[in-house]
């Protein structure tokens, strides 16, 4: 098993790697801060307490799932559907499974517990993409991953905190179109996520199902969950192997595995 060859020695800090990480991650740090602002602002407008919003950014650190979760606060903080929020978060973040499965083998020189500690908070679409890209050309380095993740994290949490300060000061959000900002966020993410032609089928089926289910009484936020699972499964079953990415060859002695996930995540 190639151990020390794929991972830099964990001894002295390498300023080159840290500088490179800061440079590579800079656009994401800036937009992360800006989106953190939007998130903090929308959270407070939706009735999330400022502390809970900032804590969510600090503990969860998964943008899309946080925007999705905050939408549930609309029903009032007394009637928070905690189970639905948890399931929906799980559904939105399941893609991380594929990312940790592909990134872990390239950092094989580190113990599983070290990787788990690093991944648990800092593995997001962006740090995964940056690392996968970098580790294809340079030596894999957990330091690089941690530096990218740490900087993006500071921007996201800081932005959220500032946003919650401003959010309460805006008198009538509908006048400013802020009620639409949610739809705009989801729609933007949806379009960015588009990878395959079959995605259109997922969009239409899931949106249509969710709309139909939302007309039924008593289903509430579960409608989103049911529609998403059903639409994903139906389209996955109908699309043949020609539409799918090739399965990655994950074997104990194959250190770099990324083909399939590369195609399916940004």
């Amino acid at each position: 098993m190639p151990e020390s060859t794929t991972v830099e020695p964990g001894g002295a800090a390498d300023p080159g790697v840290l500088r490179q990480a800061a440079w590579d991650a800079s656009p994401i740090i800036v937009s992360g801060f800006a989106f953190g602002l939007v998130f903090g602002l929308l959270s407070v407008r939706n009735g999330v307490s400022p502390l809970a919003a900032t804590l969510m950014s600090a503990l969860v650190f998964a943008g899309a799932s946080q925007f999705v979760a905050v939408d549930f606060w609309r029903q009032g903080v007394q009637a928070l559907p905690v189970a639905a929020i948890t399931f929906t978060t799980l559904a939105v973040n399941l893609r991380h499974l594929l990312m940790s499965a592909t990134l872990a083998p390239t950092l094989r020189g580190h113990r599983c517990s070290v990787l788990a500690a690093a991944f648990s908070l800092l593995l997001i679409d962006e740090t995964w993409a940056l690392s996968e890209h970098r580790f294809k050309q340079r030596r894999a380095s957990l330091r690089y991953f941690l530096a990218c993740g740490g900087l993006i994290y500071l921007g996201w949490v800081g932005g959220t905190f500032v946003g919650t300060r401003f959010g309460a000061a805006i008198p009538n959000p509908a006048v400013w179109g802020l009620d639409f900002t949610f739809i705009a966020m989801f729609l933007s993410l949806l379009i960015l996520l588009r990878k395959r032609r079959s995605d259109y089928a997922v969009w239409l089926l899931s949106a249509g199902l969710a709309f139909t289910l939302s007309l039924l009484p008593g289903l509430g936020p579960l409608a989103v969950f049911i529609a998403a699972i059903t639409a994903s499964a139906i389209v996955a079953a109908l699309t043949g192997s020609e539409a799918a990415a090739p399965a990655p060859a994950v074997a104990p002695d194959a250190p770099t595995v990324s083909a399939a996930v590369n195609k399916e995540n940004s």
Partner: protein, 100 residues
């Protein structure tokens, strides 16, 4: 912050951590099934579409529909989500302002 909010945040963090470290420990060959791969790949877009569906299809506000088109075209062309969100929100506000 209420206790319910704290619980929601902690559970969100918990399930998110599981998805992030799962790939280190899980027998990854389980995920090799093409169906599971496609299912997981479809899921994020499906959740987002399911959230948009009721809001958009159930809305009769022309400002919302127009703004949605602006967002879609902007992000499609520029790949810039922040620009899309900004222009979309501005469009929504402008249409409402002028249609009063």
């Amino acid at each position: 912050m209420t206790w319910l909010e704290l619980w929601a945040v902690l559970l969100m963090a918990g399930v998110t951590y599981l998805t992030r470290i799962g790939g280190i420990f899980l027998p990854v060959d389980r995920l090799q099934s093409p169906f599971v791969q496609r299912f997981l790949a479809n899921l994020p877009a499906a959740v987002l579409a399911a959230l948009i569906g009721p809001k958009l299809l159930g809305s009769s506000d022309s400002a919302v529909w127009l703004a949605a088109v602006v967002v879609a075209v902007t992000v499609w062309r520029s790949r810039n989500t922040l620009l899309g969100v900004a222009l979309g929100t501005a469009t929504c506000a402008a249409v409402r302002y002028f249609s009063h």
